[in-house]
Symmetry: C2
Subunit: 378 residues, 2 copies
């Protein structure tokens, strides 16, 4: 409903002209509509900054583009036709990254929340809300003794899930990327919408999806990108511990879950892809399916794979129902993802190798999830 | 964990200085920390806008204040000591309202998302996260035939809630204000934290809290404040219908809920206060406790009370366990809330009359909820 409400608001802002008069100005500022999605899927972005010297638009998956100022002090830029999808974007105003003040659609993030625009597409797109039964998202809070802080996780239960029935469900543990919070996969990745659609069309088995906060060591965030490499190893090791000893027990006590390893999968994007490979391959007694989407595999990790995965070899094939490693070909991480796959193959481990168009963006990961989930628990 | 992570990020932004160099500039921009909460509860806000002519700070519950620019183009303002609480704020930059780009704490809203600053206080404050058991927040999505759109509601279940046990819980239906979405009471109002604390300290009975999207007619939002009066009547009537025929049945089918009227309460803030009074007093067969916090009671409503509440009189007293009408004395709505109470008393209806310091702000409503919930289901 949020997007419909926002459309209503945007479409009728003209009504507000009389009350947008700013005290002390001789003429009213023009009413701003931003973003404006045209019927041909071009999008116009507008930002009012009469005194700024330079304003540019940074759109997810595209190079920054300078905007043009009109005589009302409004900076404007219209894109080419965009593929239907959700796109993050920001305005760079004299060097400062700002959200779009005319738009309440956002992509929550712990380092930088971006504005978001929806270019609607046909109902066949897995991330579009359709008139199908919807699952429920449950938000859990707990104090982690391993992390030493309050932590949280989300659980998607599929339509028809009934806590009092005897039916048991398989579980996908789905991990977010560096700088996301635990809501990333639902608020930006639209995982609940994707699961609703796949299940409604018989393309995926009804399953639970558990989305935990992915920081084993929150210090990894302290300096932004600059501290990722320093704390990465401790972060993934402690994350594995909190997942195995704190999150999974809460899920398996609180929900009707099949506890067999064949009914447990783990996947994630970027940092969460690294965590999925590290946790999954080192704990094949607990997971039978593993997915890495644009996995963040820093040099320190990719150059020490024998030590990261001490017991991993051809014997893994009998336990692995699926090892799915995907990356966009324009992603800066493609080289290390290829190295990871080559190392696995050199050890005799069978890998499903996926290369798609795209950069390090949510447009890639929503498609990854839509293609990965149908393969699970078959 | 979000606030701890953000503190880590803010405290160490200085580390980022080398990578904050902007291409083509001869000197690096100063690293900005905003907001900075000092140990004595003063707060410094900073915003970098080297070419802006005027920047002011709008802090929830205070008058706008001009900020001062330094030679780095950074606008700064330090407040007096603030009461520990959560405050929304915005920067007004040459007439344009902007969020703080250095701060990822936000107050989601359908018309204007604000930045938020937390001035921490003692653990005795009901909205501070404490090491007590935490309830779970469940997010439900459904298509409303009455609203004609996708709608949602949140359900808080208290610590220890077990869907497979036989225990039945009472339910508070808790309604947000105009321009909020269904997440308002948890994301800004911290209702789950408040309930966790009250329950842990034996001050409230364990209960469910259901927080539905409060727009019976989404057109009420189309023109912002300008369309509130026009669509208010249709909005509250359709909201009542969707609550009674769509939301409550889903809750009572999906959760272990006591369906007796004595175990059902309704309360809300602003528009949600009006909806609570309208729905509650006109449906005493379904609700035994009613709360209005700074209820939005437009002229068209307050001048037609006999028609709004046709059957309401002294006979209501035997059904009402609690009718609690609160408003801040500095709220522009205090006059109409007093009129509402006087009308009820003129009809012989007993009212708990609460006037507190404060304006039309969340600081008032968090305290209202903290004082109202302990009175329920006794």
């Amino acid at each position: 409903v949020k997007s419909v409400l926002l459309s209503l608001v945007l479409l009728s802002l003209v009504l507000l002209l009389p009350i947008m008069l700013v005290d002390g100005q001789t003429q009213p500022p023009a009413p701003i509509i931003s973003p404006e999605v045209h019927s041909d899927n071009r999008v116009t972005f507008r930002f009012r900054a009469p005194n700024a010297k330079e304003v540019s638009l940074e759109l997810e998956g595209a190079k920054p583009v300078l905007m043009q100022k009109d005589d009302q002090g409004v900076w404007t830029m219209t894109t080419d036709k965009l593929e239907p999808d959700f796109y993050g974007y920001m305005f760079i105003v004299d060097g400062v990254r700002l959200m779009d003040p005319r738009n309440q659609l956002m992509q929550p993030n712990l380092l930088e929340t971006d504005s978001e625009v929806h270019v609607p597409g046909p109902s066949s797109l897995s991330w579009e809300v359709n008139p199908v039964p919807h699952g429920v998202i449950h938000h859990h809070f707990y104090r982690s003794t391993i992390v030493g802080d309050e932590c949280d996780f989300f659980v998607y239960t599929p339509p028809g899930y009934d806590a009092s029935s005897k039916k048991l469900y398989p579980v996908l543990y789905l991990l977010h990327g560096f700088s996301d919070d635990a809501s990333g996969w639902t608020s930006v990745g639209r995982a609940n919408v994707i699961l609703d659609n796949l299940i409604a069309h018989g393309k995926a088995r009804p399953m639970l999806v558990v989305m935990p906060l992915g920081y084993g060591d929150p210090e990894i965030l302290a300096g932004g990108d600059a501290t990722f490499d320093t704390f990465n190893q401790r972060n993934i090791e402690r994350f594995r511990e909190t997942l195995l000893t704190e999150v999974i027990p809460q899920v398996e006590n609180g929900y009707r879950v099949d506890k067999n390893r064949e009914a447990r999968a783990i996947a994630g994007l970027s940092m969460g892809g690294e965590e999925s490979l590290f946790t999954g391959l080192n704990n094949l007694d607990k997971f039978a399916a593993i997915g890495g989407f644009s996995s963040g595999l820093p040099e320190q990790f990719i150059t020490t794979l024998d030590a990261q995965f001490p017991g991993v070899g051809a014997s893994a094939n009998s336990k692995l129902r699926l090892l799915w490693i995907a990356c966009g070909t324009d992603d800066r991480l493609i080289a290390n993802n290829r190295k990871m796959r080559e190392w696995l193959k050199s050890k005799g481990v069978r890998v499903t190798e996926i290369e798609t168009p795209g950069e390090h963006t949510w447009m890639v990961w929503r498609r990854n999830l839509s293609n990965f989930v149908p393969l699970l628990f078959r």
